[in-house]
Amino acid sequence: MRGNGSRLRLKAIQIALLAGAFLAWHVLTSPTLLPPIYFGDADKAAFFFGEPLKVFSRLLDWFVSGEIYRHLWVTLIETLLAFAIGTLGGVGFGLWLARAPLAAAVLDPYIKAANAMPRVILAPIFMVWFGLGMASKVALGVTLVFFIVFFNVFQGVREVSPVILANARMLGASPRALLRHVFLPSAMSWVFASLHNSIGLAFVGAVVGEYLGSAEGVGYLIHQAEGVFDINTVFAGILLLTAFALVLDWAVTILEVRFMLWQPRAGETEKL
């Protein structure tokens, strides 16, 4: 178990790093603080990267005026739905195909092809199918999340130890019981690896969907701001989403710890 001291130290390093990053951001984009480095003049840096102080005041404004809640709510719901649907679909489909070799062989090229399609280009078609509301953004997010989870679950199921599988079958496990008691638990760490990855992409799906066409959501705000070169608002939106992505990830990590209790951890003796 990690001591309290080292956890504190960890947090300290992280916060120092964060502060350092913001400081660098501030210095590099402030026209007066430093001779310009990357760009010919620092105004240009501020034009592309915004200025952290303005970004924060934007964030503050949003929350103080309450303007952001509606947009944030929409984006979060879209993300959560995309995440949930994509994950369930990916797990279900992955479990099914991994256990149905013929179907897997037949569908294999189609899945690969679907995964290789540039979804952004298909966004208009999604809008036709799912309308301009949340559904089309959710759909875009689902296409991102689904494949990641799917590929991992598919492989995870195939990696099940053959002896454990044979044993469970000899013990009389039905295909359903095998799924529930063998394949799923065994593929769990694969699932979690893909979840960490796909949380981020669920957000990306929602935001890009809004960016491509919508009337509300954080992606809409970002799009509006880009149209008038208000890069600070763009970054404020991105920071906000990132913060929520981290919160969601943390929830997944809690689940993961809970489900992965059985795994051996290093150094299990207690110090006396």
């Binding site: 240009k44 034009f47 592309f48 966004a123 208009p124 078609i125 809008m127 036709v128 309308g131 301009l132 960016y211 491509l212 066409g213 919508s214 009337a215 809409y220 705000l221 799009h223 509006q224 701001a225 880009e226 149209g227 008038v228 070169f229 208000d230 890069i231 600070n232 608002t233």
Partner: protein
């Protein structure tokens, strides 16, 4: 009588742009509400994406460029424009200051890398047209899609493109920073006339012809609101405008906004009428640019109507 469809969903590609200023004004001043409409405006990454959402049926009315109705007709989609918001395309073409010294005529575009908002869009079309005036074919220069946002500035200032054809506020920004020299400016009526050989209707509201037929009262209400906005803009002071548009639109840079507004003011429609002559100009321009559009196959009379505008003027004398 009662409005058939009080809830109208308008799709627009880049709502914050000056191109669609009357729409924003009508929304902000409550003109739609005054007409008994409940309007929802969805913003898209680009004009073609916006119109596709209407073709697909997820929105009702497009706020977009008139020439799309012609384009769409060549794809067997009959759309009709019913009120005008802009009477010039508001596109400007500029060459980088580095090349400006040696730039004498349009024929000097030869061999240049020219940034447009998207290949195949009106910005691209304008480049082709002025290139043709200089005796160039579309293969004599290379077209690069750079969008309408910060990417344009990035591409221009880092010297990755030699010339740019784009809309405001990008063009004004580049101009102000001294990054480009304007060589063609369709934000003015005069140059528009010269380049296109006639007036060129730009931003309009258009909808599937069945929608117009089925919901005349709704269309009338929309037209009324836009005509009022057009007229309001003719008399409004800059201060009025600053107060009316959403604050977010200005946040980037207020001075820039006003500077830019000064440039495009002339291009805003005064009365909402779509000039008959303008529609032929548009068809001619399109067909030289896109060989798939055959003028004889396009029924121009289906692409627009001024009836609603006429009635609007009767209502708001």
């Amino acid at each position: 009588g009662k409005i058939e469809k009080p809830q109208v969903h308008i799709a627009v590609g880049g709502k914050a742009a000056f191109y669609y200023l009357p729409l924003t004004i009508a929304e902000q001043l409550g003109y739609f509400r005054d007409e008994g409409l409940e309007v929802k405006i969805s913003d898209f990454a680009g004009g073609s994406a916006a119109l596709r959402s209407v073709v697909g049926g997820s929105a009702d009315v497009v706020s977009g460029a008139y020439e799309h109705t012609i384009n769409l007709q060549s794809k067997k989609q009959i759309f009709q424009a019913f009120v005008e918001m802009g009477r010039a395309p508001q596109i400007a073409v500029g060459v980088s200051t580095a090349k400006a010294a040696s730039f004498k005529s349009f024929s000097d575009l030869k061999g240049m890398k020219i940034g447009v908002s998207a290949p195949g869009s009106s910005t691209n079309m304008l480049v082709n047209l002025i290139g043709a005036k200089g005796g160039l074919k579309s293969t004599d220069f290379s077209i690069i899609g750079v969008g309408t946002g910060a990417g344009v500035v990035a591409a221009m200032k880092s010297g990755q493109i030699d010339a740019v054809s784009n809309v405001d506020p990008v063009m004004t920004m580049l101009e102000r920073d001294g990054a480009v020299k304007i060589i063609a400016d369709t934000r003015t009526l005069k140059v528009t006339q010269e380049v296109f050989g006639g007036p060129m209707p730009a931003a309009v509201l258009y909808a599937p012809i069945e929608f117009v037929k089925k919901n005349p009262k709704t269309v009338q209400a929309l037209t009324n609101a836009i005509v009022r906005a057009d007229r309001w803009l003719q008399t409004a002071s800059t201060n009025d405008i600053l107060k009316t548009v959403p604050e977010a639109y200005l946040l980037g840079d207020k001075d820039l906004y006003l500077l830019s507004y000064g440039k495009v003011k002339e291009a805003i429609s005064t009365d909402g009428y779509i000039a008959d002559e303008g529609t032929t100009t548009a068809l001619k321009a399109l067909s030289t640019f896109n060989p798939k559009i055959i003028p004889s196959e396009i029924k121009l009379e289906l692409t627009y109507t001024n009836e609603f505008v006429k009635k609007a003027h009767q209502k708001y004398k």
